[in-house]
């Protein structure tokens, strides 16, 4: 159901949300700088610890510890540091190593590509069909907007593959392979992108699969296996978090025409209706880069993310005030709806219509 707000309500919605934003941004300072620096220290410690322990991974408990340490390091770097820094959440600190436009993260996708496809396209055109390609990552059918075809029957397997190789999938996102297949664009249009992709992908593969194993040559199979596992953990976790943020239930979709001359209120509304949160302990939030607060993140993408936890009750109250759904639930429940949704949309519409419990 499309939430209907009249112009006056939209203006008030914008005012209410702006008030939160102004209040928090005026308060941003020392505490936030300390927070992110602490997280960065934790990341460095875990990464160094993981790399140092890995060659001793022939002792099974050490292997487990090393993989966990390196895997969690990568998760923290990608989610709580990289993603958030690149959104400009810490630009105000004026620290060149935390600058949104030059930060480069520890994953295959280049920072530049991510800044274009995610920070700009996805966050500006959230849920606008045809402009927001994060919607199903152009690989999965997650709404009626995509016509069913028999290949969709296998999309669950596709989803698993996407999760396992998530960093490569995200890295290739900007290739827009679906548009190349449809012959809307040519592969040669993407030369510059591919060059960057191979450079960065090569760099990541070299580090984890060549350099560190060779450095510890006699035990290289252990190190190689450990590094693969750490990357796998990160891939599974980050893809799961991201799917829980957007694909739990039918999000409202918008057409390109409808967002022309959009007011701030309409923009806020679009952000609120397309995201979902999940609950959890402090560490679940940190490891998800606070994308567990996807709703708050979409409304205030450049606010230091650990603040989302603090403002969440107020955002929820605003949603209730305007009769908007504030989609939240436990991690398990939200993930279950994602899986159901992937499964159900893999079926032809006729079959799906007969399923007992509709997702949306």
């Amino acid at each position: 159901m499309k939430p209907q707000l009249n112009e006056q309500q939209l203006n008030e919605l914008a005012k209410d949300l702006d008030a939160i934003r102004d209040e928090v941004m005026a308060d941003v300072g020392e505490r936030d700088a300390k927070y992110i620096r602490r997280i960065i220290r934790l990341h460095r410690t875990l990464e160094i610890g993981g790399r140092v322990m890995m060659p001793f991974g022939f002792i099974p408990p050490v292997f487990a510890a090393a993989v966990a340490s390196l895997g969690i390091a990568k998760i923290i770097e990608n989610m709580e540091i990289g993603h958030n820094v690149m959104h400009g959440q810490y630009d105000w600190m004026n620290d060149p190593s935390l600058h949104s436009q030059t930060y480069e993260w520890d994953t295959v996708c280049t920072g530049d590509s991510w800044r274009r496809t995610h920070n700009y396209e996805h966050h500006t055109y959230t849920n606008v069909i045809g402009k927001d390609r994060d919607y199903g990552y152009a690989v999965l059918r997650l709404s009626d907007d995509v016509k069913w075809n028999p290949l969709h029957l296998f999309q669950f397997a596709n989803y698993l593959m996407l999760s396992v190789f998530f960093q490569w999938g995200v890295g290739l996102h900007e290739l827009e392979s679906e548009r190349i297949r449809r012959r809307e664009i040519k592969l040669s249009d993407k030369k510059a992108f591919l060059k960057d992709f191979f450079r960065k992908g090569g760099r990541q593969a070299f580090k984890d699969y060549v350099f560190f194993p060779l450095l510890t040559f006699p035990v290289f199979p252990v190190v190689l296996a450990g590094n693969v596992s750490a990357n796998l953990i990160r891939n599974l976790w980050s893809s799961t978090v991201i799917f829980c943020g957007h694909f739990t239930e039918d999000a409202e979709t918008f057409s390109e025409a409808s967002i022309e001359n959009e007011s701030r209120g309409q923009w806020y509304l679009r952000q609120l209706t397309g995201s979902s949160n999940f609950t959890g302990s402090k560490w679940v939030h940190i490891l998800s880069g606070h994308l567990s607060h996807q709703i708050e993140h979409h409304v205030f993408p450049d606010m230091p993310a650990h603040r989302y936890r603090e403002i969440a009750p107020r955002v929820e109250a605003i949603c209730h005030k305007y009769g908007l759904k504030y989609n939240t639930g436990s991690f398990g429940r939200q993930y279950w709806t994602v899986l159901k949704r992937i499964g159900q949309f893999s079926l032809p519409d006729r079959v799906r219509a007969r399923l007992p419990a509709q997702v949306a």
Binding site: G29, A33, G88, S97, R115, R116, F211, D302
Partner: protein
Amino acid sequence: MLSTMNTRAPLRWLGKQLFNREDPGAFFDPLLAALNPMWVRGYVPARLQDVVDEARDTRSFHLRPSPRWQGFEAGQHVNIIVEANGVRHHRTFTIASSPRQWERDGSITLTIKRLPGGRITNWMHDNLRGGEIVGVSEAFGEFDLPEAEIPLLYIAGGSGITPVLSHLATLANRDFRAPVTLLYYVRSQADVIGAETLYALAARWPALTLKIFKTEEDGDGALLNDRHLDAVPGIRARQVYLCGPKGLMDLAGNLLSQFGIRESQIQSTFFSAPSAVAADTPLGGEVTFGKSSKSVESGGDAPLLEIAEAAELKPAYGCRMGICHQCSCRKTSGTVVNRLTGKPSGPGEETIQLCISVPQGPVTVDL
């Protein structure tokens, strides 16, 4: 190994592959900073040895930069990097001590006056104490010492004395024989910066003639005028160094040309911490694009992104509404107002979003 990582090419290349950054050594900074802040690689750290009162509202900060700092010439400036309330600030100050002092004990002195309304100078006075660490840039600036032994005239005002102190100490050490005259303009005796150094120099170095004018205590005659210049023997043959507030420099320039002194004989410099524009300054102002050395006038509430595009530059942008930070770029000086919050920025170097930043007075951006 850490120090070589920034200098040796193959290691540097490897570091880039492993740490995804141009300055791989700085990857460890967050840990190093916790162990010993003098070990960081991202900037040159300097330890504050002590802070002493120098004159009214003025303190001298004695710093000892890490050994990899490359030194300076008398009269040069450095940028100091301090972190206040989580935000990193850069401010330019002139080194008041001589290179000789640095060679002897590795220390430099910055003499800094509180600026009324200046956020950082006041913060430094209130918060920096001995033992603390700040960052320093390499030295820059061309207020060079004379190469030959020729008669010199220094005209300095207020805190503009700092490069002159460095010059004079260096010349005295060199046993410079040609006559040197300093005309120093301050409000009152309490405002004399480097008084001890100056009197000691005058006592032991016969070439120096020191004249201090206290404009508030000594009446109108103490303001710079042609009689002061007349009293300088052989003024036409002197090389002149000017350093002080703009009003004094302009006045000195006029008078000197009346005395027939050529532009080429005069060198001037002045760096004071930039201060915020008055809150009621109208929006708009001259925008200088540093990298492309273009400069345009802007008016009203046009944001920098549009101003840059009108000047035929092509800065990166995305949403044009302040969300995506694609347009983030360095502002090197000036104040901008954030369109979304209506709040003015600080006057120093920092990152801003072009699409929502409106100049308030003259602004320089790195485009």
